[in-house]
Structure formats: C-alpha cells, structure tokens
C-alpha cells in the first residue's frame, strides 16, 4: 500500500441531459425514439443527418480531473453549483461510475452525502441507528459497541423507542449525524451535510470530524460555507465547469473560488447557463442601485433597489433572493410571496420585480445574491451568485457605521439611553 488514499486519473463523467431531465421515461418515448432514430439512420444513408447525439445533449460534469490525495489529508473541494463537486464525491464513493478515467482507492470509504439516508419513519430511534449504520457499512458488532456513545452524542436517549416520524427534524439530523460520526472509515467523504442542524450541534460535529483527522483519517469535504471549510481543511481543490482549476492551500482555493464567482458575475445574466428549474420563466437582467442622489453607490443605511427583469411570463410568479456575504454565509432573504400592505400588485404575471429597501442594514463589504423564481408550484429558475454588489460605509439612523471591526454583517437602527441612578453614591 502506498501513501495515497485516493488517486484520480483523468476522471470524466458525462451525463446525457435529455435523459436526465425527463426523469420519467416511458416505454412509449423509448419506442418512438427508437423509431425516430432508425428512421434517421435510414435517412442518414442517403444524406448525412443529425443521427449522433450532438454536444448540446450531453453535459460533462467532470472532464479529465487528475489528483492525488494522501493519507491523512483534509481536503476541501470548492466550486459553484454544477462545477462537479458532488459528481466527484459520487464517483469516489462508487455510487456512480466515471465515463472515462479511473480512481484508485486505498482503504475503506465512508460517505455522507446526505444525512439520514435510509432512515425509516416508522421505525424507532434505536432500530434506525442499526439500520442506518449498516447502510453506511458498519458491522453489527461495531454498532453494538458504539451504540451508547452514538445515542449520547445525538442527545436523544429519552426517545430511543419512539418512531422517528415523531422526532423533530433537528432530532433526526442529530441522530443521523451521530451514527455517521462514529463510522470509522479510512476515508470520509462529506457533502454539505452540516447545512442542517443547529449551530451548537454543528460545532460538535466539526469537532468530531477534526478528531477523525488527527487519527490519521482522510477527509474530503464539500461545502458552500467557506468559514467551515477554512476551519476544517488544510488543502483545497477548486472545480470549475467540471475541471480542476486549482489544487493547493485551502485559503488560496477559497479566494480563487470567490474570484471565479466574480468572474461568473461579469457574464451577463441572460447568458448564464448554470441555472436550475423548469425554465418557463427566467431572470433576464438584474440591477442593483443605491439612492437617487448617489446613483449606483449602495451605502450602509442608505436606500437600495433590487430590480429583476424576467424573460417569459407566467401567472402567479414569485421572486425571492438571498443576500450572502463574501464567505457565502446567507445574511437575509427577501420573498415576494410574503406580502405586506405596502406592496404594489401591478400584474399577476409580472415581467419585472422591484424590491426597495429604504435603509439597507448591511455593513460595508462585498455581497452577492442568489435569485429564484417560482411559478405554478415549481421552481422555474435558480441562479446562484447572480449578481455581486459592494456596500460603502454609510450612516444608519444618524450613526456612522464603519464596519471595520469585521464582526457580523448587519447594521441595525437603534438608540442608546445613558442614565444614572439619582440616588447613586457614585461621585
């Protein structure tokens, strides 16, 4: 056995989008498709028709990715949505095969691509611990030995014999993660699972994962939370459009990833292709403006306007967007579906949404937004890192806010009162 835990050699994965999108293939489709194809083939003999699947129908989720991860490495993989992070983890964990290339692995792989996969709502907490642990590849003797620790870690001792469907979602996550945390694979793959659960529990899990690393375990971690990545990983890999564009320190990886995001933002919204949703209506243009006087400058405590222009028109379309700070933490969310008396309903099938914020409660810094459109009960369009904007220092409620302390990202209008007790002995 060498010192490598995982080696990837020109790993590529191709998806046929046509097939992936139509999730419910039917035999009828297959039959008519086959008929069309053989007809096309017949025609192709006469003149060259478009019989081969063109590049438009396939998507390279990964393309020629080569890397080596040493035993005991703590690697964070960053990249925007659709960059291939999850696909890479799925290949390493054998869930899906590479289309070409190969991956060599030394040691037992434990993957945590989603918490609680395989939990059965009708079974009790105790039963689910055994089921889930065995799905993750733990042996029964191991589970029995670790059972008390797992239950204690999850803090659900009192509810062990209650069906999991009566658990709060937080409890379910805790129990599932506790099981996973006691997995003892040589290589642990973790995908974004800490996004759930409360902060205190997240911290506990991170501590536990840090311990794993000091025990010589290899951990490969994917998250959109850059702060967590920084805290946990030493090495970072950047995936961009299915290719490995950087492999080095985590700090450099994160700054390159954020650079990537900004580069994405220089692409006009209308030309962005990294979207998800039904796409019957989509965001065509985004404008972020400050107050009238200052033009485009957005300041702390000043007015700000977020304007979204749509391509397409559907009844009951709603728009929501999230403001995230420079490390990718969501700061706050705005949703047109949640009405207030001041809202203006000009049209039920709007082509433009304007969100006005009279006093922007953000401290100086760089922020970006993720946008979603919903209509007809479906996600129509989701664009992450749709736009970036800078907030300049300003005044909130008459109080200058410099934001230089770097603590938090909010500025809130407030008032102090300083009083002294009249009978005080203080001279």
């Amino acid at each position: 056995m060498g010192a490598s835990a995982i080696v990837g050699e020109r790993v590529s994965k191709r998806y046929e989008i046509g097939r992936a999108r139509q999730q419910h293939d039917t035999l009828r489709d297959a039959v008519s498709d086959a008929a069309r194809r053989s007809a096309a083939r017949l025609g192709g003999r006469l003149r060259r028709g478009p019989t081969e699947p063109s590049d438009l129908e396939t998507l390279w989720a990964l393309r020629d990715v080569s890397f080596e991860i040493k035993r005991g490495d703590l690697v964070g993989i960053v990249g925007n949505n659709g960059a291939g992070k999850s696909t890479l983890l799925k290949i390493i964990s054998r869930i899906t095969e590479p289309t070409s290339g190969r991956v060599g692995i030394n040691g037992r792989v434990g993957s945590l691509l989603e918490v609680g996969t395989g939990f059965h709502p009708e079974l009790t907490g105790r039963e689910n611990v055994f089921l889930y642990a065995s799905i993750l590849g733990m042996r029964q003797t191991e589970i029995t030995r670790r059972f008390d620790e797992i239950v204690e870690f999850a803090d659900v001792t009192r509810f062990l014999d209650t069906p999991v469907k009566r658990y709060s979602s937080g409890m379910q996550v805790r129990l599932a993660f506790a099981v996973a945390a006691y997995l003892e694979p040589d290589i642990l793959l973790v995908d974004e699972v800490l996004a759930v659960g409360d902060a205190a529990f997240q911290k506990k899990c991170l501590g536990r994962m840090g311990e794993s690393a000091t025990e010589g375990r290899t951990v490969v971690f994917v998250s959109h939370n850059m702060a967590v990545m920084k805290a946990l990983c030493k090495r970072g890999m950047v995936l961009h459009g299915g290719q490995l564009t950087y492999d080095g320190t985590i700090d450099e990886a994160i700054s390159r990833y954020l650079g990537n995001l900004e580069q994405m933002i220089t692409i006009p919204v209308v030309k962005r292709t990294d979207r998800t949703g039904w796409d019957m209506v989509r965001v065509r243009q985004i404008r972020i403006r400050g107050g009238q006087r200052d033009g485009d400058v957005v300041t702390t405590g000043g007015p700000a306007t977020f304007e979204f222009e749509l391509a397409g028109q559907l009844p009951s379309t709603s728009c929501n967007f999230i403001i995230l700070d420079d490390l990718g933490h969501p700061v706050t969310e705005f949703n047109s579906e949640n009405p207030a008396p001041d809202d203006v309903f000009g049209s039920d099938a709007p082509t433009r949404f304007v969100c006005e914020i009279p006093e922007l409660p953000l401290i100086a810094g760089r922020y970006r937004i993720d946008v979603e459109l919903h209509a007809q009960g479906h996600l129509q369009d989701r664009l992450q890192s749709a736009a970036v904007f800078d907030v300049e220092q300003g005044v909130m409620g008459g109080r200058p806010v410099s934001g230089e302390s770097g603590r938090g990202s909010m500025a809130v209008r407030h008032r102090w009162t300083r009083t002294a007790d009249e009978l005080s002995d203080v001279v």
């Binding site: 020109r10 095969e97 059965h120 590849g137 564009t245």
Partner: protein, 289 residues
C-alpha cells in the same frame, strides 16, 4: 485569474497497487460475490426493516398475511367451485385453492413490492453505495414471513378437512420453494431494473400478475387441460410450484416430468437473466433513478 485546467494529461502517482480501482465497466459486469458476502448484514437489516414496517399502522397488523389467502380462498370457492363448477380433482375446493394460494400470493406480493423497491428508495440509490441487488431481495425474503404464517393456516385446514400430506414427498416442498424463490427473484430483478428507467412498470405489474395468475393453475388444475397443453404449462415455473405443492400436500396427481423439467429450465433462465440484466443496468441506476 486563470481557469486553465490542471492535471490535463499530466501523470499522477498511479502505481497499480490500489485496493479498489473504480473505472468504467462494460458488458455484463462481474457479479462481485465477495462484496455481496461482505455486505450480508445489510441484507439482514433491510429484510428486518421490511418485515417490521410492512404492517405498521394497520389496524389488523400481521393478520393481513392470513386474511389475504383466506379471503381469496372463500371468494374462489364461491365463484369457481359453486358457480362455475370447476373440478378440484376430488379434493375439497377450499383446500385445493388455498394450497395454491400460499405459494402464489408469495410470488405475487413479492413481485409487486420488489419491482417498486428501487424507485421507492431513490435516496438509497443516489446517496449511498452498497450492492443494490439487496434492495430487491429484501422484500422477497420479508414475504417469506407471510408465507410461513399462511402455511400455518394451511396446516389447520388440512387437519380440518382430514387431508394427509404425501409422506416423504413433503421434502420436495423445499426444492419447489427454491424454484419459486428463483422465479420470484428473477422476475423482480427484471422489473425493478426496468422500472428505474420506465415507470410504466408500476402500472403494468398489477395487470401482469392478474394475467399470470389465470395462466397458473391457481383456481383450476392442469389436469383439466387438454393433454397436449400439460407439458407446455411447464414454461411457467409457478405452474409446477403450485401443482407440486398440491401433489405433496393434498394428494392430487403430480405434474408431468416434462413440465417439471421445462419449469426448472425456465426458472433458471429467468433467474440468471434477471440477475445479469440487473447487474448490467445497476451502474446507471444512480444517474437515472
């Protein structure tokens, strides 16, 4: 910043000493028996889950396992014996049909549950790795519990109608059950793998099972058919299973040697074919489920 890809064409430390190598597989794919063995505990847990969950939150609970064949027996006795006057080869019709219903319902229920098992657990398929064949196998093994419970009633009925089993012939129930298991697994594996891609299977299965039941000697006996047909009936392995059960337990004439041979052959073909088809398509499940 540069977005030029790293590693393109560059060599990495590939030294051919890895414990596992993951690369595209072609053709039928290997059966990976050692892996199946190392994951055997999971099969046990999945089966145990299916047993525990099957009758959760039902008022009658496990009684359903008995009620299904008993109600079918009563219905069949009225319709096919009293009304249609179908011959039951001198055996009281209730036990004649019940004896067939026990293996038949095992097959029908297993196929129904197992063919949907992959699409009912998409998260298991797309988020964790383990031999997927166990997802299809566990509902079948769990149905064996129902089979055992229904068999208890069968014993009760045999005592009630004072029907004696055929002595040593009862031992032949074991290979007959094995034939039923092989057929059940083979059909389920085919359908479950097909259902991942074509959801039509979900709608087709109930109808298929109904047709298959009338193509099997559940409500009638093969002896009632023209002689030329009797061997051909062996093409349906469940026919031999049912006729064999009746022969061993209630003393009807045995299925013809030709039909038994044919059944074993088709049973094997269904089993191996199902396994191979499943194995060949398994690698694409996570991408299309």
């Amino acid at each position: 910043m540069s977005t030029e890809a790293l590693g393109r064409g560059s060599s990495v430390a590939w030294d051919d000493s890895f414990e596992h190598v993951l690369e595209p597989t072609h053709g039928l794919g290997a059966l990976r028996l050692p892996e199946l063995i190392s994951f055997r505990e999971l099969l046990y847990f999945l089966t145990w889950r299916d047993i525990k969950v099957r009758y959760k939150q039902t008022a009658l609970g496990v009684i359903w396992a008995i009620l299904q064949p008993v109600l079918a027996m009563i219905l069949f006795s009225i319709v096919f014996s009293d009304v249609a006057k179908i011959s039951s080869q001198g055996v009281p019709y209730p036990i004649f049909s019940y004896c067939a219903l026990v293996p038949w319902l095992f097959f029908a229920n297993s196929v129904q549950l197992s063919s949907l098992s992959l699409t009912l657990n998409p998260n298991l398929i797309t988020k964790v790795y383990f031999p997927r064949v166990y997802v299809v196998t566990s509902p079948i093994l769990a149905s064996l519990v129902d089979f055992a419970l229904a068999s208890v009633i069968l014993i009760g009925l045999m005592i009630y109608y004072s029907v004696a089993p055929r002595g040593v012939g009862v031992i032949l129930l074991v290979p007959l059950l094995l034939l039923a298991l092989m057929t059940t697994f083979g059909v389920s594996a085919w359908l479950a793998a097909l259902n991942v891609k074509y959801r039509d299977v979900r709608f087709a299965v109930p109808f298929m099972i109904q047709v298959w039941m009338f193509a099997s000697p559940v409500v009638y006996s093969v002896a009632a058919l023209p002689a030329a047909w009797r061997d051909v009936y062996g093409l349906n392995p469940m026919s031999t299973v049912i006729e064999g059960f009746r022969w061993a337990l209630v003393g009807t004439p045995p299925p013809s040697a030709g039909s038994v041979l044919l059944s074993v052959l088709t049973g094997l073909i269904i089993f191996v074919g199902g396994l191979l088809y499943f194995n060949r398509t398994e690698r694409r499940f996570a991408d299309i489920v």
